[in-house]
């Protein structure tokens, strides 16, 4: 599907859409290639594992076979004696706790006294090659004392005595609980009491993981002069920089993190991992570079994927379908470590309050520790699960009240330039246009409740943050910085701290530089992801990069542009603002016959002002949230909005659900490059569809041989859809032109995932009249639900 085909209408309330006459833009808004596209598609891109340094050793990590145990003793002497082994490191060599959230540091690079899940790292080896390192792992003797394991979050929360999974922060507390959040806005019980209908539902969202194609990989290089360099497939070089320095007790000025191109991340590489500390420490011990590449199995154990959520919702509405009150009770299965869990526990409730107006809202979310790999952020962090439940709730309300589900959503639209019930500031909002687009494109009115038995359509909407107003560690410095430098040839170099993880950020800054300085796109070079040479950007997470780095880039480019305009204006004897930079030229406004190559303009500016360069930065608004505890979590400079319609066919005999097509309308503010936006929309919808139908990060029980053992840590048995399973995905771009976004842009990388799952659930209901309230909607589960509801294979569906 081409992005051009999928190009939707612009809502255009504030400005002409990009790429349309009158928008004043020449590069932004047009379909363009990625700057790294050719290198990646021809195999020339060098990922972390492609890097081989002279004298490099290979590392491997010994992992716990127990879900929960005390480490009684570790004897590494036999491993150290093996020929070819250069160093062995254990937890006691790095006894400093870390954690991505500064308030919940609960991990060591390697376990010090306790293992908390099967796969937890215990020791690491550096050897001349991988086989020797593997052989050495077999020679490390670890004595464990097994402890009772918690696999069920409800049981973990109910525990009233230790040993808990973590030491309680205060005596008497339950060490199995990461975080509890209770927030209420308005009078929820009164609102429910006054409602014409109250719909209650229990929902379960199974855990899923990211499955990036590239496994985690890191290389450490400690030089004799105290300098430490770590190459890593990470989304967060800046946080990794900080944590490496702190945990390994190295001056941060001597630590350099280089992030090569990353082969997919999706949130699974957004915090430090054991291998990064291990390669650094092993290199410090041996004086040689050390590489560790995870196996696919280790990627499943490192996890940080979507939390399993047990959710109970009560949703009230008036006779007209206006929402009155929403009550949510959520238990989250966090796995062995906190990861981003403190934030997840807030997001579970905070991000539900748009795009619909809620007069009263309450949520109570609890994150439990369990003896399984730690959950964390996955595309749509914390809000995909509640969105599934809530959009199914809305479908139920619409049905009860006999209101069209799209109409119900329109009625409850929260609007633009407003505040949510929990005091989040909404600026631009193109959600109504999203609903219009999917309704039109899917031919909704002729299909909903009108297709033959076995076929159905479903709708869902959502919102998501465009970055967070508050950084992970408190500070007042910019969230994103960039530096530009101009060569006498007309080439512009961009030093960007942001992380290219396939989403196109390197391309995005090149487009902006080309737009602002009028240089051809292939005159822009982007050097990114190297903490020695690039300004700080906080990382590729929470859909923050285009908005924040884009604004920083505009800031820098316009400073540079001013210098050039002044120099050319002096040459021509005109006012600086009369000098335009576009199409490789400096042109006099109002007299296009007067022009010079932009390179000459740069040379004039360099002669006048000295070496040409500029820095730019962006920081978030800090005064736009409520005044309750937790009000800053969920606060974003802008929110994206999405609506999906999914069309499905259900084989009633077998339970197979075939999703034929998903129409995806997404308000991204402005599409800086519609091809990349459509790619993000399709990728998001695919990922949601995959979670809806197939994915399960689950574990064996005691009855299944071994409690806490991953059910299927391979890409053969952890099933994600192949191209043959994937529906047609139709992207409909909606542009609301955000007042604070770069050229009006907002996020597009995570929001479009959310509605896939409830839209499919609602479509299944439309097809066969059965509610699927537990994920995934795999054939056995759908078959069981159909049987329970008394729907049998009287009508035969698609043959397989």
């Amino acid at each position: 599907m081409s992005a051009r085909d999928g190009r939707g209408r612009a809502s255009g309330r504030d400005a002409p859409a990009a790429g349309q006459p009158g928008d004043g833009l020449s590069t932004i808004g047009r379909p363009m290639r990625k700057v790294d596209g050719l290198a990646k598609s021809t195999g020339r891109a060098r990922y972390t594992d492609d890097i081989r340094l002279p004298g490099m050793l290979h590392g491997k990590i010994l992992r716990s076979p127990h879900p929960h145990a005390r480490i009684v003793a570790i004897d590494t002497s036999r491993a150290e004696a093996l020929e070819g082994v250069h160093a062995v490191v254990t937890g006691s060599d790095m006894p400093t706790r870390y954690g991505i959230i500064p308030w919940t540091p609960d991990e060591y690079p390697l376990c010090v006294d306790r293992v908390r899940h099967i796969g937890d790292g215990v020791a690491a080896v550096a050897a001349v090659d991988e086989d020797t390192a593997n052989a050495a792992l077999d020679l490390i003797d670890v004595a464990y004392e097994e402890l009772p394991a918690y696999l069920d979050p409800h049981k973990a929360i109910a525990a009233d005595s230790g040993p808990y999974i973590h030491e309680p922060r205060k005596p008497g507390q339950n060490g199995n609980v990461t975080k509890v959040v209770r927030l209420e806005f308005g009078d929820v019980e009164a609102g429910l009491g006054d409602s014409h209908v109250v719909v209650e539902g229990d929902y379960f969202f199974e855990g899923t993981t990211h499955t990036p194609i590239e496994p985690h990989c890191a290389i450490g290089l400690a030089e004799g002069n105290g300098k430490l360099t770590v190459w890593s497939a990470t989304q967060v070089p800046h946080y990794l920089h900080r944590e490496l320095a702190r945990v390994l007790e190295v001056d941060p000025a001597h630590v350099r993190v280089i992030q090569p191109p990353v082969g997919g991340a999706f949130g699974g590489k957004s915090e430090p991992f054991d291998l990064e500390f291990c390669v650094a420490k092993l290199s410090m011990m041996t004086g040689r570079p050390v590489k560790i590449l995870y196996t696919r199995e280790e990627v499943f154990y490192s996890h940080r994927g979507r939390h399993p959520f047990h959710m109970r919702y009560r949703t009230g509405a008036t006779r007209d379908g206006m929402l009155t009150s929403v009550d949510a009770e959520i238990v989250m299965d966090g796995g062995a470590y906190a990861s981003f869990g403190l934030v997840t526990t807030y997001y579970a409730g905070q991000l539900l309050t748009a795009p619909y107006r809620m007069p009263a809202y309450r949520f109570h979310s609890t994150r439990a520790y369990t003896n399984k790999p730690a959950c964390g952020p996955k595309r749509g962090h914390g809000s995909v699960q509640p969105r599934f439940a809530f959009e199914v709730q809305l479908d139920r309300i619409a049905e009860r009240l006999e209101i069209d589900p799209i109409g119900l959503r329109r009625r409850n639209f929260i609007g633009a330039n407003t505040r949510t019930v929990n005091d989040l500031r909404i600026t631009s909002n193109g959600f109504l246009e999203c609903l219009d687009e999917v309704e039109r494109a899917s031919d909704w009115k002729r299909k909903h409740r009108r297709l033959p038995f076995g076929r159905g359509v479903g709708v869902a909407g959502s919102t998501y943050i465009t970055g967070t107003n508050y950084p992970i560690y408190p500070n007042d410095m910019p969230q994103s910085g960039i530096q530009l430098q101009v060569d006498r040839s007309g080439r512009v170099a961009v030093f960007s701290g942001a992380s290219e993880i396939g989403q196109g950020v390197d391309s995005m800054v090149a487009y902006i530089v080309a737009e602002e300085l009028g240089v051809p796109l292939d005159h822009v070079r982007v050097l990114a992801g190297d903490t020695d040479f690039t300004p700080v950007d906080l990382g590729a997470y929470s859909s923050r990069v285009t908005f924040m780095l884009g604004n920083a880039c505009i800031d820098a480019a316009r400073k540079l542009k001013t210098q050039v305009q002044e120099a050319v204006a002096a040459e021509w004897g005109v006012k600086p603002r009369e000098v335009l930079l576009a199409g490789g030229l400096a042109v006099q406004a109002g007299d296009t016959g007067t022009s010079m190559p932009v390179r000459d303009a740069f040379n004039l500016a360099e002669a006048a002002a000295g070496t040409l360069g500029a820095t730019g930065s962006y920081n978030t608004p800090k005064d736009v949230h409520g005044d309750y505890r937790g009000a800053t979590i969920g606060a974003s400079p802008a929110y994206s909005f999405t609506a999906h319609v999914a069309e499905v066919e259900v084989d009633v005999e077998t339970g197979f659900v075939t999703v034929d097509r998903i129409w995806i309308a997404h308000d991204c503010g402005r599409a800086l490059n519609p091809v990349l936006v459509a790619g993000q929309m399709e990728g998001s919808a695919y990922m949601g569809f995959a979670e809806a139908l197939m994915e399960e990060q689950i574990f064996k029980t005691e009855d299944q041989g071994r409690a806490g053992l991953h059910n299927a840590p391979s890409l053969l048995d952890y099933r994600i859809p192949t191209s043959l399973d994937t529906p047609a995905l139709e992207s409909l771009i909606v542009e609301s032109i955000d007042p604070e976004g770069p050229y009006g842009a907002k996020e597009a990388g995570e929001g479009p995932l959310h509605p896939s799952i409830p839209a499919i659930a609602n479509a299944i209901y439309d097809a066969v009249g059965v509610r699927m309230d537990s994920l995934p909607f795999s054939p056995p589960r759908v078959w069981r639900a159909l049987r329970s509801a008394g729907v049998t294979g009287a009508r035969r569906g698609v043959a397989r």
Binding site: R63, P65, H66, I118, E130, D131, N134, P215, L293, T295, R296, E297, E653, T654, G655, M694, K700, Q704, G705, R706, L709, H710, N711, A712, P713, S714, L716, D717, R719, P721, T722, S723, L724, D725, S778, P779, P780, W783, R784, G793, A799, R800
Partner: protein, 341 residues
């Protein structure tokens, strides 16, 4: 990435040389063709042969041709010269799936070959390797770390079957797509070993032991497959899996029947697999179908007969009760395809 254990690679040019190498190294050696089954199993340390004997250089094990009768196309072969299709064991699954002779005579087999894994694996994997595919189980096809955390299982390095909870019998699933079709079609298999060649019916080749589910001795090589060609024969294959590519079957159904021109059934065989350690020939089908027409009522009766005979266990990670319930559905769909052809 998982590492292969070290091994020495041999590449003989003839069957005799290959058999000699297997004999010389005994239990230290294993044959390899496409490697799509053995290589991942070696990475998982399920097999660690010191010697791997490649069959890829043996030209005599390739080829797909009709032999016997009075030449291809002859309608009435002379007695004792039954017309057969011979498929060399080294032919890739991609070739078998696309070959016009296979497609014409045995569409069920061609479909089955084309449904194995994905295109790249079908380009490497051979039909001989598919016939000899190791059985599969959620407790077995895992890394050595995973299996050590489990405490191993009866099939490899352990004493307990985690599916049944006892230590008597391995119930790993026969998971190959082509054998149920070969059984249903009455194919025979040619094995070469230290004592020469022997020929065995495909239906006798498999046994109900999940640890080693064929009668092939470790020093024998499957060299070729022979399938009788009969006029009026139809065949079909149905594979249950959650994705439309890559996955092994959760249930497989092969049916083959000989029909009079009038549509009367002369012979009908159904084979169900991917449930236990060997493909199961469904019992009691002849009395229900032979000399009648394959109408809806007959098909339903056959499907119910199949259902009564199949009781899958939790050897794969997908709901066994659902897999069982799919038996009559998939049998019926396969039989309906016969009536359409």
């Amino acid at each position: 990435m998982l590492r292969l254990p070290p091994f020495r690679y041999h590449r003989p040019g003839t069957v005799d040389e290959a058999v000699a190498l297997l004999g010389e190294f005994g239990t230290e050696a294993m044959p390899i063709a496409g490697g799509t089954d053995l290589m991942p199993n070696m990475k998982h340390r399920l097999f660690t042969p010191a010697h791997v004997v490649s069959l890829r250089g043996i030209g005599a094990m390739r080829g797909i041709e009709v032999v016997g009768g009075r030449g291809a196309g002859s309608a009435t072969p002379a007695p004792g010269t039954e017309k057969v299709l011979r498929i060399g064991a080294l032919e890739t699954l991609a070739n078998v799936a696309a070959h016009p002779l296979v497609r014409r005579h045995f569409p069920g087999l061609a479909d089955a070959a084309g449904l194995v894994a994905g295109p790249q694996l079908r380009n490497m994997g051979t039909i001989g390797g598919n016939v000899c595919l190791d059985t599969r189980c959620t407790y077995y096809n895992q890394t050595s770390f995973w299996r050590s955390a489990l405490g191993y299982c009866l099939k490899k390095d352990g004493t307990v079957c985690h599916v049944t909870g006892v230590g008597r019998k391995c119930v790993a699933a026969h998971s190959a797509d082509t054998p149920p079709n070969l059984v249903a079609l009455g194919a025979s298999l040619t094995l070469a070993g230290p004592h020469g060649e022997r020929i065995m019916n495909a239906s006798d080749f498999f046994v109900t032991d999940g640890i080693w589910n064929t009668r092939r001795e470790p020093d024998e090589i499957l060299t070729g497959i022979t399938i009788p060609i009969a006029t009026g024969r139809r065949s079909a294959y149905r594979k249950l899996r959650q994705r439309n590519s890559i996955d092994f079957p959760l249930l497989s159904v092969a049916v083959a029947g000989d029909f009079e021109e009038t549509g009367t059934v002369k012979r009908l065989t159904g084979v169900v697999s991917a449930l236990g350690a060997r493909p199961r020939v469904l019992a009691g089908w002849s009395e229900l179908a032979v000399d009648g027409r394959l109408d809806g009522a007959t098909i339903d009766a056959l499907a119910q007969r199949a259902h009564a005979q199949c009781r899958p266990l939790d050897n794969l990670i997908v709901d066994a009760e659902w897999r069982r319930a799919m038996v009559p559905v998939y049998v019926r769909r396969a039989l309906e395809e016969l009536t359409e052809s």
